[in-house]
Amino acid sequence: MSAPTQAPLLACAALTRQFGGLVALDRVDFQAHEGEIVGLIGPNGSGKTTLFNVVTGIYAPDDGSIAFAGADITAARPQAVYRAGIARTFQRSRMCLPLSVFDNIMVGNHKRLDHGLAFNLLRRGAFADQFRRSRQETSELVAIFNKTLAARLDEPASRLAMIDRRRVEICRALISRPRLLLLDEPSAGMTHEETRELMDDILLARERMARLTIVIIEHEMGVIERITNRCVVLNYGRKISEGTFAAISADREVQDAYLGVAS
């Protein structure tokens, strides 16, 4: 994939966010182009998750701007960011464990479901149609990840193993067909083998969704090397390097700050 020439899908300019005296993000410029997979790496506390939280509206930036698909979404509410087409997963699993797998995925489908009172309470026939359609779509999406999991939609999410919970969380993010997917350390708490499996799933799902852009935070360099087109490295809230994995892993500053033991 050569460098695209059109305007980036996501463009953060001079993004700054402080927590008290701590500068979590320090004038970070960050872009993701349509169809790219961008790796976001850096040591713990370097601002990766904060970048996600600022982009998705959980925190407002102190300075700088965020544009998505040509529209300004700086300091937009999380709800508006989601509606614009950005979906995310969380570093620590954030699922509704007592609810069914299907319910969990439907939470992610919020913007495509009718929440009107009359529709939900009185027009039960129309509701049933929407339910069956969503159910079909969900089965198909989950089946891309795992056929057995697709047969377990009516089980409580609490009964799933960690890797299946991660799959469900990614399905929850994908069901609304976002243009940009933000994955916050999807391999956390999983074995090497499981991580490999999950990455295969993600790549497979992406093949079915043309033009889906992904930004992934990850500590497993094998994963980053395998799936990303480009990487951005943060340290102490600043961007210290950017480029292909080969380029950034050859970067002296990156080696010192993060990769360590520079052979």
Binding site: H110, N120, A128, R132
Partner: protein
């Protein structure tokens, strides 16, 4: 899961409703403490035996598979019990009270069970309904039956005062806001002369279409207690509230409320408007409590601030906790339990609040999801996915 499993028969569901109605009649009819005690022991033994032989599971499957049948059977069961006991004022009054508390507890279920909005002022909202009924019959010429929707609307409107502080606080602090409101409400009633002060107010009976609810019930050759009309009204209100809350649960709205209760941050990141749904659940719950309160006011005939104490709010909360948080049938079972047990077992009457407290503690310790834990959401009962699952 083989494709050959037979759908469960509807007999266990019907048997369940019939047994409950029969037991209710016997229990309400029993006079001596010995008979009441024997009936309680019989119920416990019967349930234990039924569980031992798998009858409870069969009844549950059958009820799940034939919900409309069971709903209809439940209504017929209540009517049958009421007709058998028609001349016994006290029994009819207790049934009516239990059904009205069920409606209020269904309101709490929407607030607390679904959206996670705590409300420790349930009896205040019930009281707003009662006082609305009193004001309508005393100070206005409006037909008294209008106090039913008005009670709900006034409760919802007064509840909106609490919305701002409730949205800004969380957890224990939100609970404190509602406790403060409940106490404020009672104090306000005590000092307000228009509302009768500490002595309270009379609530005149409903007279609608020439039918006086306060007179003994008489239709053709059938005559019954003067509470009988209110029992029918309470049953109608309960059926409405029950269908409303159950449909709500089985909809995208119910899902949104659950998601907000379980994880606000993730919900916000998937577009759910937290404030909007909390306000919706809180208002709807207060509306139901207010409607129930309006009827309750007419039933009591005389209301005073002391009917709406913090302890009464706790009783409503304990109905929800005992029954199974978020389970509509659980609320029904627990309300019957909480209303009837102390009235029939006079030796515990004085200690009833202590009894509720012990029950709630025991439930929270040994069965934290309540007597009837809430099942997973079943959007369309009876619907099964067509696509063959893996492993076929």
């Amino acid at each position: 899961m083989s494709a050959t499993t037979k759908p469960p028969s509807r007999l266990p569901a019907l048997g369940c409703a019939a047994a409950a109605a029969l037991y209710g009649i016997l229990f309400l009819h029993a006079e001596s403490q010995l008979a009441v005690g024997a009936l309680l022991v019989a119920a416990a033994a019967g349930l234990a035996l039924a569980a031992r032989f798998g009858l409870v599971a069969r009844a549950r499957d059958s009820i799940g598979a034939h919900q409309p049948t069971f709903d209809a059977a439940a209504v017929i069961g209540v009517l049958a019990a009421a007709i058998v006991l028609r001349q016994q004022h006290f029994a009819i009054l207790m049934m009516t009270t239990a059904m009205l508390l069920m409606v209020a507890a269904l309101g709490l279920t929407v607030q607390f069970g679904f959206a996670g909005v705590v409300n420790f002022a349930g009896s205040a909202f019930l009281g707003i309904g009662c006082y609305t009924a009193a004001v309508v019959t005393r100070y206005t010429d409006l037909p008294a039956i209008l106090s039913l929707p008005l009670g709900g609307l006034v409760a919802a409107a007064i509840g909106s005062i609490l919305i701002l502080p409730m949205l800004r606080t969380r957890g224990h602090y939100a609970a404190l806001v509602t406790i403060a409101f409940g106490i404020l409400f009672k104090t306000f009633l005590e000092v307000n002369d228009t509302l009768g002060g500490p002595q309270g107010m009379q609530v005149k009976p409903i007279v609608a279409f020439g039918w006086n609810f306060g007179r003994p019930f008489r239709a053709w050759d059938f005559s019954a207690s003067f509470y009988f009309s209110y029992l029918l009204l309470a049953l109608a209100l309960l059926a409405f509230a029950f269908v409303l809350v159950r449909r709500l649960e089985r909809s995208w709205i119910g899902l949104s409320l659950d998601a907000i209760r379980l994880d606000e941050v993730a919900s916000a990141c998937y577009g759910l408007d937290i404030a909007r749904w909390k306000v919706f659940a809180f208002t709807l719950g207060n509306f139901l409590a207010g409607c129930a309160g309006a009827v309750y006011g007419h039933v009591l005939g005389f209301i005073a601030p002391n009917n709406f104490t913090f302890a009464d709010s706790l009783v409503l909360v304990s109905i929800v906790l005992l029954g199974g948080i978020g389970n509509v049938w659980g609320v029904a079972v627990a309300a019957v339990f909480v209303v009837m047990l102390p009235e029939k077992l006079q030796m515990i009457q004085e200690y009833r609040f202590a009894l509720y407290a012990v029950l709630v503690i025991l439930i929270l310790l040994f069965r934290p999801e309540g007597l009837l834990p809430r099942p997973l959401r079943d959007y369309l009962p009876g619907w099964t996915p067509k696509t063959p699952g893996a492993g076929a």
